[in-house]
């Protein structure tokens, strides 16, 4: 019988003929945790009486959320994770290396594998055709120990995207628009599968941005076929041999199909305090912004920084608007320096953070004051997300963020390009 991408990958990794609605025990190809979820993962691993990792080279501990540590409690958590990685032979990604999902994308995610991470944005790996999904610490501890996990094979919602973006509209606007259409629970437990001519032409950066935010619809995974673009990306990352092609079968059964005309989309913003509270940027022109934050696992890649540097070249941030930029990984940071983007950003008045999550989750490097407003390229704007429940977070594309930093208020990037 014809299968969706999710059914194909879970069949392959469970040795069964997996259909939506069934429960399988699947082989885990990669398991990871970060510094917020990792300490509990380590403690649960030890409480379970486990001594060995099932696959140490495919087990990773990331220090990215509090990086470098702003508090002694977190410094102690980092010590715990470093010594666990050393003792068990796991991979350690230390402070300054970057955000877990970006490093998984660059160096670890393999098409057709099951990837589990103790972080909800693990779905980012769906962009390379991995069944990548987030879980909690105990699930990940067991996956690290046994090399497997149980999964309910999800039904799939097919998202078909045709047409070309107009100037000033990007993959971020598309996924924000889709979340607004579906609502924050519109695809709970489902897989999203992205297809159509627009998707086939998207570069990996765009695919990562879209897959990353699949979880904001409640979805378990946001999958892309593995194709020539995937192959080129893996080649460029120095692991071309890990490429394998992967397509859904003709005639696979979908829960529903949603068609999007990319050409009809406008720059889109999520307003406080939910991601599905979306509006076209034109509704919000003139909203004063105290801080612009550009980075994260959603939009901290080289292509994003290229767009931002292109806009900020020969411009300065508004004197009343702070600009914080965090490259998603050390590789992105280095490439952005080689391309001259970092110099442009610094000249424009940006404060550059080390690669990592930076201001995204309210731990450090850009906590908002009472009543302040931030325009961020991240994926979440929940009340209190950036460290203060009395502040307001708007989400948008890197281009919208860059032009708004110049003007000090929400601005339509189409007026600049």
């Amino acid at each position: 019988m014809a299968k969706t991408l999710a059914e194909k990958i879970l069949s392959e990794n469970s040795g069964t003929d997996a259909r939506a609605g069934e429960i399988v025990v699947a082989r885990v190809g990669l398991a990871f945790a970060q510094d917020g979820t990792g300490p509990l993962t380590v403690r649960q691993f030890e409480a379970g009486g486990f001594t060995h990792l099932s696959n140490p080279e495919r087990t990773i501990l990331f220090l990215d959320h509090a990086a470098p540590s702003p508090k002694r409690e977190l410094s102690n958590d980092h010590v715990l994770l470093r010594s666990f990685a050393r003792e068990k032979g796991a991979v350690l990604s230390d402070i300054g290396d970057g955000v877990c999902h970006q490093i998984v994308a660059e160096s670890f995610a393999i098409p057709g594998q099951v990837v589990v991470g103790a972080d909800s944005h693990t779905v980012t790996g769906g962009a390379v055709g991995a069944f990548a999904t987030g879980m909690g610490s105990t699930d990940i501890a067991i996956a690290m120990a046994l090399g497997k996990t149980w999964l309910l094979v999800p039904e799939t919602v097919k998202i078909i995207i045709e047409g070309s973006f107009v100037k000033g509209v990007y993959a971020k606007d598309l996924i924000l628009h889709l979340i607004g259409e579906l609502d924050a629970d519109g695809a709970t437990y489902d897989a999203l599968e992205f297809s159509g001519s627009t998707v086939r032409q998207m570069n990996m950066s765009e695919r990562f941005t879209i897959a990353n935010m699949a979880v904001e619809t409640g979805a378990k995974v946001g999958l892309f076929a593995s194709d020539g673009v995937t192959r080129e990306y893996l080649d460029a990352c120095g692991r071309g041999e890990e490429y394998c092609p992967l397509q859904p079968d003709e005639g696979a059964v979908y829960k529903r199909c949603i068609k999007i005309d990319a050409g009809s989309l406008a720059p889109t913003i999520s307003k406080p305090h939910t991601v599905d509270n979306t509006a076209p940027v034109t509704d919000l022109i003139g909203t004063k912004i105290d801080q612009v934050f550009i980075g994260t696992c959603t939009n901290g890649r080289l292509d994003d920084l290229a767009i931002v540097a292109g806009i900020l070249k020969d411009n300065k941030r508004h004197p009343d608007t702070r600009l914080i930029v965090a490259p998603a990984s050390k590789g992105v940071f280095q490439d952005a320096m080689d391309e001259g983007y970092i110099q442009v950003l610094v000249r424009a008045g940006a404060a550059i953070m080390p690669p990592g999550c930076a201001a995204c989750v309210g731990v450090h490097q850009g906590v908002l004051a009472d009543g302040e407003t931030c325009l961020s390229t991240a994926n979440r704007n929940f009340k209190g997300r950036m460290g203060n429940p009395n502040s307001f977070i708007y989400l948008g594309s890197p281009a919208t963020a860059a032009v708004s930093a110049i003007k000090g208020e929400i601005t339509d990037p189409r007026d600049f390009l």
Binding site: G36, L40, I142, A184, V361, G362, V367, K383
Partner: protein, 166 residues
């Protein structure tokens, strides 16, 4: 049988509401972390909760991050079960893994301060204050077994593996 009193919350209670990122540094100190449970949406909960009380909420409870600390602090403050219209996937899985029942049912007519009696085996909820009965949705079999053992660690310790009939 679970018996307790209701704390009522609305729709879309995210993991950032349940335990905000500004307490990130307390994650290795769960008793201290738990003192901030739902602080920004229901500041009275931590002060008034008694062992075995219930949280009753609307749609998409627990959306957001994968932090297992979210169900963990709810359990730590003494909540015996969470009753919701619908629940986000990772929160649901995490709650069952640490032995906190999350029951999906029609919560509309349950109000703050109502007394409830829940029969986990029968799958029924009695609102003693208002005098009506409800049923909650069945879980996938593997989740019933994990919850039955008190969580994923005791389940794996007992079976040594996942014993899912496929």
């Amino acid at each position: 049988m679970l018996k307790g009193r209701v704390f009522k919350l609305g729709d879309d209670i995210s993991t950032d509401h349940i335990i905000p990122g500004r307490f990130f540094h307390l994650r290795s100190n769960v008793p201290e972390l738990a003192r901030h449970t739902l602080e920004d949406v229901a500041p009275n909960l931590v002060l008034d909760v008694k062992q075995g009380d219930f949280i009753v909420a609307g749609r998409n409870f627990g959306l957001g991050s994968s932090r297992e600390h979210a169900p963990l602090v709810i359990k730590t403050v003494g909540i015996g079960a969470v009753l919701v219209e619908s629940v986000a996937r990772i929160f649901f899985r995490n709650a069952i893994n640490i032995g906190l029942p999350v029951l999906i049912c029609d919560t509309e007519n349950i109000d703050a301060e109502d007394e409830l009696i829940i029969d986990m085996a029968k799958g029924t909820i009695e609102d003693v204050t208002k005098g009506f009965h409800l049923e909650f949705n069945k879980f996938p079999g593997v989740m019933i077994e994990i919850l039955g053992e008190g969580g994923l660690l005791p389940y794996i310790k007992k079976h040594g593996d996942f014993v899912v009939s496929v």
